[in-house]
């Protein structure tokens, strides 16, 4: 007799009061259509005016009136739009996971010091190494780009390893959060010292990196970004079930059979790969990681991560594409700093949505 307490056979009651899960999933389809439209718009609109039929022709590999148009669409706009979509998805999903994990509505992908680590790496390369500052200004195919990305990736990785070492030791989430913040301050302090002693051109180059940009990513770099984001997102999906249990807090999650150490390590790796990769190649893109998860909870009216993760992928990609489009200032040759646009346009929109639906309060209600 190993299991003497038999489960009472549940009485066959009629299925009632089931939440309308399918109706929530139904919202995903129109959003995917919106994503497709935003992606097409990103290819069609830019500082150079290219007729839509010529954009289509370039994409389909047909003859284009002017060869430079094909060049612009295929090697500039397409990688840029792809990067924007991947970045939006990656940052939104990592923000979502960290908000649930820390049960903190202000958590974003960089709360654990990942962007600070990347900043430190970039600052070390830009401000001290023997690379001429002006070649590092965001552009296509400049030699400094990969060095920059490598430095940022190394910085993110150091932050990640530090956090993982602590996460494995099973300290509390608060300890994890504080160590992440402290690492951020520490890295920022070193960057400040480097900036203080650097020459103006290099400071400008560093600042350009901190503004964030999707435009400097090449196809060669996308071969690194795309698989990394795919792996990170897949890992996030595998964690959806544990994240749902973590909605009730760590103690309950564990009592319901969540292997906390594994879940925590998975969340840290996934968010660090997602946010670290994007930061390495695009700079520290603020705002999307905090805002999109709130937006998704509002739109889908759920806390179920099995829906929120795909939702954050799609909504994050849409928002990211749109802000990149606005940063281009269509019809002009000016380009605004991406980070300024994401917050300038996005913040009022998100405030409006949140105020009108008041779901954020409830999601983090204790």
């Amino acid at each position: 007799m190993t299991q003497p307490v038999t489960a009472p056979s549940p009485p066959p009651t009629a299925a009632r009061s089931n939440p309308p899960i399918n109706r929530r999933w139904g919202l995903l389809m129109p959003l995917v259509v919106a994503l497709a439209l935003a992606f097409i718009a990103s290819l069609a609109i830019g500082s150079v005016n290219i007729p839509p039929d010529q954009v289509a022709a370039a994409l389909l590999g047909r003859e284009v009136e002017r060869p430079v148009w094909a060049q612009i669409v295929l090697n500039l706009r397409l990688p840029k739009a792809t990067t924007a979509a991947l970045a939006g998805a990656a940052l939104s999903v990592s923000g979502l996971m960290l908000q649930t994990f820390f049960r903190n509505p202000l958590a974003d992908p960089f709360i654990l010091g990942i962007s600070s680590g990347a900043s430190l790496g970039v600052a070390l390369v830009v401000l001290t190494a023997g690379v001429a500052g002006n070649t590092l200004v965001a552009g296509i195919g400049l030699t400094g780009d990969f060095a920059l990305a490598a430095a940022a990736a190394a910085g993110s990785a150091i932050a990640l390893l530090l956090i993982l070492a602590i996460a494995r030791r099973m300290y509390s989430n608060t300890v994890l959060l504080i160590v992440g913040l402290m690492f951020g301050y520490f890295a920022t302090a070193i960057v400040t010292i480097l900036l203080y002693f650097a020459v103006p051109e290099r400071i400008q180059a560093y600042l350009n990196w901190t503004f964030g940009s999707f435009g400097s990513v090449t196809w060669g770099q996308l071969r690194v970004i795309a698989p990394a984001v795919a792996i990170g997102l897949l890992l996030a999906l595998l964690l959806a079930k544990s994240l749902n249990a973590l909605l009730l807090g760590e103690v309950y999650a564990r009592s319901m059979g969540v292997n906390l150490r594994r879940a925590r390590t998975g969340i840290m790796i996934s968010t660090a790969v997602l946010a670290g990769t994007i930061t390495a190649f695009c700079g520290p893109i603020a705002f999307l990681g905090v805002a999109v998860p709130h937006l998704c909870r509002s739109l889908f009216r759920t806390s179920d991560h099995r829906l929120l993760i795909p939702g954050a992928v799609v909504v994050g990609a849409i928002l990211s594409l749109l802000t990149a489009l606005i940063a281009e200032v269509p019809g002009s040759s000016a380009v605004l700093p991406l980070n300024a646009v994401t917050a300038l346009i996005g913040a009022p929109v998100v405030v409006w949505i949140i105020l009108s639906r008041s779901q954020v309060q409830k999601s983090f209600d204790t």
Partner: protein, 340 residues
């Protein structure tokens, strides 16, 4: 004799602070939780009730000894194996999120579902059964954030049920509820223990309610050994009173209630019967008097005389008599200033 579900053997509980000697809170404890039984863990603050529950639930390592759940050490079971045999409900107000009541309860199927957490029809049936078992079917479709504390706690208990465990441990699950809801939750837990054959242990500060509902008490006096037994046995052998003995509070074995005042203002004889007499005695005790059961030397005598729907009180003291028409009036007349 019911089957033992959860047993401890020479269990010592406490904390192991880094680079310091271990802090022992209680032990050694040898006790058993039986199938179909509702046990209440009682004890003053700081006696280690929560630590004991956490240790029994496998959340905290014991300093010494073992906790066996159906013969297996809870501290050696994998998290999901343990979750299929034991579930917990905690004091803290469960976080709401945007979950519906049904979704909250369904989280309890976690140790049974696949990697995506998809519920099979069998899982759904268990969830519906649990929701109905706690009487929360009417709120299951609503967002948890809109529900009251009592409704939320019922859903958390339903969630604990959907894990289909052999034992459920609850750490002060009624602490933030009002009295009617506390009674409701206790009745619910006792019914669930009986009907489902599960072993349920809860810690509570609600001594009176525990005395009236628990099949067994686990008494945990500060520093003393843990004793378990039927509530009435523990009262009659004095263990219950000993566990809660503090300045100014005494347990009345006759009435089964705690007396808050020391009764030092003198003895009063109350004559009469019915509800009015019972509440007159309560009022005088509250005011600091001792109620005299027989005649003997007393400070005063009170005669309770029912009249119609109310009552009147005649107070005899120092060869003087007075008539009072409310208990407040009577108590006021006994104040020192009124003595002459």
């Amino acid at each position: 004799m019911n089957q033992k579900i959860l047993t401890t053997h020479q269990l010592t509980i406490g904390y192991m602070p880094p680079r310091r000697p271990p802090a022992i809170i209680a032990g050694p404890i040898t006790v058993a939780l039986h199938a179909g039984e509702l046990a209440c863990l009682l004890g003053p603050n700081g006696a280690g009730k929560s630590t004991l529950i956490r240790t029994l639930a496998g959340m905290q390592k014991p300093l010494d000894g073992r906790v066996l759940l159906l013969g297996e050490d809870v501290h050696h079971l994998a998290a999901d194996d343990l979750a299929r045999r034991l579930s917990v409900v905690l004091t803290e107000r469960p976080p709401a999120g945007l979950l519906t009541g049904y979704e909250l309860v369904a989280l309890g199927r976690h140790p049974y579902t696949g990697w995506l957490g998809r519920l099979t029809p069998a899982d759904e049936a268990v969830v519906r059964w649990a929701v109905e078992a706690v009487g929360a079917a009417d709120v299951a479709a609503r967002p948890v954030s809109e529900l009251s504390d009592g409704q939320r706690q019922k859903l958390m208990i339903a969630r604990a049920l959907t894990q289909e465990p052999a034992a459920i441990l609850l750490d002060e699950p009624t602490a933030f509820l009002d009295l009617p809801h506390r009674v409701e939750i206790m009745r619910l837990l006792r019914r669930l223990a009986r009907e489902t054959g599960r072993a349920i242990l809860l810690s509570t500060h609600d001594l009176d309610l525990a005395l009236r509902t628990a099949d067994r008490l686990w008494l945990m006096p500060a520093g003393g050994p843990l004793q378990s037994g039927a509530p009435e046995d523990l009262i009659l052998n004095g263990a219950f009173e000993a566990s809660f003995r503090t300045e100014g509070v005494t347990f009345d074995v006759q009435t089964g209630a705690f007396r808050v005042q020391d009764g030092a203002r003198g003895r009063i004889y109350v004559n009469g019967d019915g509800a009015a007499t019972i509440w007159t005695r309560r009022a005088l005790e509250r005011a600091g008097f001792t109620i005299s059961a027989n005649g003997g030397p007393v400070l005063a005598r009170v005669e309770v005389r029912p009249n119609g729907s109310g009552a009147s009180w005649r107070l005899h003291r120092n060869d003087r008599s007075s008539e009072h028409f409310s208990i407040a009036d009577l108590v006021a007349a006994l104040e020192p200033g009124e003595a002459q």
